[in-house]
């Protein structure tokens, strides 16, 4: 579906990460990002950590207004085995395309980054789940 070349991944120092989330006690379902510990509602949830891999549920390629000079980029909803959906960027290697059902890895920009804020997704080796 991606009609023109999108911004591709260049860095190699990205780190695999496990995101922090919360699980609602009543339903067992999870939410991301984690409910802040200072929240008066925090006692409705358990803190959990998400798996390092997820499945691509849906995607879009955003085409910034040409006046901005910005390259298109890909956004995804990624479904985790802990029953939670996370929104974020998908960084693609040359030749890769977003595809529903693909296995994704969660990564962070590396040293100094806050993984729960600066995470992104890449396509896992082997691709399709």
């Amino acid at each position: 579906m991606t009609s023109i070349e999108v911004a591709s991944r260049t860095g190699s120092r990205d780190e695999a990460v496990c995101l922090d989330a919360s699980r609602e006690k009543d339903t067992g379902k999870a939410v991301f990002p984690r409910i802040p510990g200072t929240s008066p509602s925090a006692d409705r949830f358990h803190p959990i950590n998400l798996s390092p891999e997820a499945i691509l549920y849906s995607h879009t390629t955003i085409h910034p207004n040409p006046k901005t000079g910005l390259k298109p980029f890909v956004l995804v909803y990624a479904d985790f085995p802990e029953d939670v959906r996370v929104f974020g960027r998908l960084e693609l290697a040359d030749g890769e395309k977003p595809e529903i059902g693909s296995r994704l890895c969660v990564r962070s920009k590396g040293e100094g980054a806050d993984p729960n804020a600066d995470y992104f997704f890449t396509v896992a080796k082997g691709g399709k789940s």
Binding site: M1, T2, S3, E24, T27, K29, A30, V31, P33, P36, Y57, S58, H59, T60, T61, I62, H63, N65, P66, P72, F73, L75, Y77, D79, D83, V84, R85, F87, G88, R89, I100, A117
Partner: protein, 383 residues
């Protein structure tokens, strides 16, 4: 419910870029024309409901100051894109409780002042802030639904484009619509990609100004060919999204519509026309099913059959909808009702639906991170 609520008067400004009119000018034009349409004097107005999103503090009072309609209770209402419909809902409640006999509801927005582009998301939410930093916008939310819809239903982007072709053809017949040019499937599909699979002509224009107003009363109006009643008024908020929900299930809209159908006793198959929230083409397809105009999975077929075009069984967005008429947020919900009133009273020049008796409006507000939508409003009007 102790009283019938009628829409005695309805008016709106043209939607578009209004460099020559301030927000005060827009709101006052709509309100004064609605009062004239209702044959209601200013001193008969017992309360005012003012809907807006980006205008600021005590906006309604500021906008009404010079009209001479000052003194009665004035309620400023904000519920994102559903602000106008929410204001009508609150006014209905007060009228039915007997608190007032006659009130004015108006909605107004001047989005051109924001400079165009995607509109800002809400503030004061850690989740929205995080997702916005990753690229979450309203087109993003709908584009995700579009991609998933095409995947699950085995459809192509042509189906989405058909919604734009239909509604823009309707808008070409509405002198108050912002965009009045008919477009072809090819033009829609070849317009600039915004958020795939959505192209520019599948997104409602974001640089638009406008206002709309209605006069609601418990006195049966006599000045028009038919007295339009509000048969149902329902507003709901979105559930927190937990787990991995189906994004094609417009749950909040389906829930609100069920309430409205129950309240009115109207069967979905008896609805003659609909004004719904087609901010993006995919939304209209999802709402066909949520509003029970089509069975689950049959929204695409309903569109292809021509049933939702002017001349069809249940025309949807005869005004041109948000896609062509424009979407000045605070005004939209009220403007949808203006269109239904005009249709039910045989006053919709150039796009009149014959013998329409029941019309439905639907608005959703706020693609807030973490809930389906912030708000949904469904109203059913009848003569």
């Amino acid at each position: 419910m102790t009283s019938q609520v009628y829409i005695a008067g309805a008016a709106m400004t043209p939607f578009g870029r209004h460099n020559e009119l301030s927000m005060q000018g827009l709101a006052q034009a709509a309100v004064l024309n609605a009062l004239k349409d209702a044959s209601v004097r200013r001193e008969e107005v017992q309360a005012i409901y003012a809907a807006n999103v980006y205008g600021g503090m005590v906006l309604g009072q500021v906008l009404m100051r010079d009209t001479g309609i000052t003194g009665p209770a004035l309620y400023n209402v904000e519920n994102a894109c559903a602000s106008g419909a929410t204001a009508v809902h609150l006014a209905c409640q007060a009228l039915r409780l007997g608190l007032y006999e006659t009130v004015v509801v108006f909605g107004v927005e001047q989005l051109t002042q924001l400079g165009g582009g995607t509109i800002p998301l809400q503030r004061n939410d850690y989740k929205t802030e995080l997702y916005a930093s990753h690229g979450m916008t309203l087109p993003t939310v709908y584009a995700m639904r579009g991609t998933r819809y095409l995947h699950e239903r085995g459809e192509t982007a042509e189906l989405l484009a058909r919604v734009a072709v239909k509604n823009r053809a309707h808008g070409a017949r509405n002198p108050l619509a912002q965009q009045r040019t008919e477009v072809t499937l090819e033009e829609v599909l070849n317009s600039r990609p915004v958020a795939e699979p959505l192209t520019l002509l599948q997104c409602c224009p974001s640089a638009v100004d406008g206002a709309a107003a209605v006069v609601l009363t418990t006195r049966r109006p006599t000045q028009h060919s038919a007295a339009v009643r509000i048969l149902a008024s329902a507003v709901q908020s979105g559930y927190q999204e937990l787990g991995c929900d189906d994004i094609l299930d417009a749950e909040i809209t389906a829930r609100t519509a069920r309430l409205a159908y129950e309240q009115s006793g109207v069967d979905p198959k008896d609805v003659n026309l609909v004004e719904l929230h087609d901010a993006f083409t995919i939304a209209e397809l999802l709402y066909y099913e949520a509003l029970q105009l089509a069975k689950p999975g049959e929204g695409g077929e309903l569109l292809r059959s021509g049933a939702t075009a002017l001349g069809g069984r249940v025309p949807v967005n005869p005004s041109g909808g948000l896609l062509a008429k424009g979407h000045p947020l605070g005004a939209t919900g009220v403007a949808q009702m203006v269109e239904i009133v005009w249709q039910l009273q045989n006053r919709a020049d150039g796009r009149q639906i014959e013998n329409a008796k029941i019309g439905l409006t639907q608005c959703t507000g706020g693609g807030i991170a973490g809930v389906d939508h912030a708000a949904s409003a469904v109203h059913i009007l009848g003569v």
